[in-house]
């Protein structure tokens, strides 16, 4: 489960990570894209942090939707609509909730990944955000089904996410800007998959702190 405070904490921790890894994500994008992913994500989450105080008294769904809208209107590029849609869809999935059960959390993740797939029309294995996100969500589901706590499930999720990031090094990009490189995209780690792995890292840290 997750309280509203934890959701807010997750947003803040993730925003910090985007600022902290701005250069790293940009460097990854420089190798196979146009070198702005870290700039885009950190600009977006800086705006989220400015927005947050105005919505933190609202329900979780309103908070998530506000985050999504802020990302959509400040990130731009490919990642803006994708991350923005993910947060908006996650919000819509938990309408009216003041606290999230594990089922709510799983539903929110499912809706988020569905939103990304609707927008980006990609599937796993195309060297995108999905390559860390889908394995991570699958890991959560498996671990919760196996009776683990959400904290432990998120440990597994983060590991799966980083595994997905590693996997992106081995494949050709067929979506996004990196697809122009063809064969030459092999060997490089996908920036979007990487920024998504940090989302699971942030979730895992927050859950561990809260002890859920």
């Amino acid at each position: 489960m997750a309280t509203k405070a934890e959701v807010l904490d997750f947003i803040r921790v993730y925003a910090d990570k985007m600022a902290e890894h701005r250069q790293e994500l940009t460097d990854f994008d420089q190798a196979i894209g146009d070198g702005d992913h870290g700039i885009n994500m950190s600009r977006g989450f800086k705006a989220v942090m400015e927005k947050l105080p105005t919505v933190e008294d609202k329900n979780i769904d309103d908070i998530l939707k506000a985050v999504g809208m802020t990302l959509v209107s400040t990130v731009g590029g490919a990642s803006g609509p994708l991350y923005g849609t993910a947060f908006m869809k996650a919000g819509a999935a938990v309408k009216g909730k003041e606290e999230l059960s594990n089922d709510d959390i799983i539903l929110a993740f499912d809706e988020a990944v569905g939103g990304i797939q609707f927008r980006g029309k990609a599937v796993e294995g195309e060297k995108t955000i999905l390559d860390s996100m889908i394995p991570a969500i699958n890991a959560i589901k498996a671990s919760i089904a196996a009776g683990k706590s959400m904290t432990d499930a998120l440990v597994d999720a983060e590991a799966a996410a980083w595994g997905g990031v590693e996997y992106t090094k081995t494949i050709i990009a067929t979506k996004g800007r990196a697809s122009y490189l063809g064969e030459r995209s092999i060997g490089h780690q996908d920036p979007g998959a990487t920024s998504m792995a940090y989302a699971f890292q942030a979730a895992r840290e927050v859950a561990a702190k809260a002890g859920n």
Partner: protein, 331 residues
């Protein structure tokens, strides 16, 4: 990084301010947004909106005006503008006849413009879009997102803009835009990289004797990195790729654009043009009109692209139709 800027966070905004202050007779800014629209809104016609990341000036704000665009949306440097910005542009220019969005084929641009179109349609505005993809450097296959939209987009603005100015319907303007897209091909080359202000360092590296063939307008890599060659050899390489793809016949008529990437002076563009014209003459392809200059730049990249547009009677008329914008004038 050596640039005339004040604050990397603010280059796009200060640039837009500078444009409006310079050319109030051409463009106005939609307050609070990074959107430029015609100083005098034209009513009773289909409106054209284009845009993309900043750093391609005079694209796109420089083409707002009579006979071309009605609105242009400026994202952060090399980053697609967000849906709310595009939506604002659509609302500002719509005159009841519908709005055509001219989108360059990049995942980000398509998603952001599509979201904007959804917002506009929800408000009852008729919106259509076309996606430009003239860059022959990139293979158009199932395994890519398709070819990139590059300098040929300027011809789409010019010709679809003329069609709209002439009072055609949204469907007609869209069909004309698609005809241009079907007939325009481009390929580029870089000698020196560009520097995104917020990144502070060049986006790729080329050693003193290297060039990147098939470069994209955001410095995306191309087909080949090679030791630098003579202007004629470079043109031969680019033209071979373009001509292979578009295959004009003797007697066909084309428009030519030799586009500078930002840091390449006219002298070099004209030396490139010389060879382009020689090759076309040898093939018996007739050049109807040639454009040489900075139309779709990549900030301060040293490089150029060659664009050919195959013309029919309609496209010729529309290409020569009056246009009066900051960056493109035709009388």
């Amino acid at each position: 990084m050596k640039k005339f800027i004040n604050d990397v966070e603010n280059v796009e905004n200060e640039m837009l301010e500078g444009i409006v202050l310079a050319h109030p007779e051409y463009v106005a800014r939609v307050e609070g947004f990074d959107v430029l629209v015609r100083a005098d809104k034209k009513v009773g016609k289909v409106a054209l909106v284009s845009g993309g990341g900043s750093g391609h000036e005079p694209s796109h704000g420089g083409f707002v005006g009579k006979g071309m665009l009605d609105g242009a949306v400026a994202g952060s440097v090399f980053t697609s503008p967000t849906p709310d910005q595009v939506f604002e542009a659509i609302k500002a220019v719509d005159a009841g006849e519908g709005v055509l969005l001219v989108i360059k084929n990049y995942t980000g641009d398509i998603m952001n413009f599509e979201m904007a179109a959804e917002l506009a349609e929800a408000e009852g505005i008729k919106v259509a879009n076309v996606v430009t993809n003239d860059d022959v450097a990139v293979e158009d296959s199932l395994y890519t997102t398709g070819r990139r939209g590059v300098a040929g987009t300027v011809f789409v603005h010019k010709i679809a803009g003329a069609k709209a100015e002439a009072g055609a319907s949204l469907e007609e303007v869209k069909a004309t835009a698609e005809k241009v897209i079907a007939n325009v091909r481009t390929m580029g080359v870089a000698l020196k990289p560009c520097t995104v202000p917020a990144a502070g360092k060049p986006g790729f590296e080329l050693s003193e004797d290297e060039m990147e063939l098939g470069i994209g307008i955001h410095g995306e890599p191309g087909t080949e990195r090679k030791p630098i060659q003579t202007a004629d050899e470079i043109v031969d390489y680019l033209m071979e790729r373009i001509l292979k793809d578009m295959d004009p016949k003797a007697g066909d008529e084309v428009a030519v654009m030799i586009n500078g990437a930002g840091a390449t002076p006219p002298m070099e563009l004209y030396i490139l043009n010389r060879r382009v014209q020689q090759i076309l003459a040898d093939k018996g392809v007739k050049v109807f009109k040639t454009f040489v200059g900075d139309y779709m730049t990549s900030i301060d990249m040293a490089g150029a692209s060659i664009t050919l547009l195959k013309l029919d009677a309609e496209l010729k008329d529309l290409l020569l139709a009056q246009a009066d914008t900051i960056g493109f004038k035709m009388y």
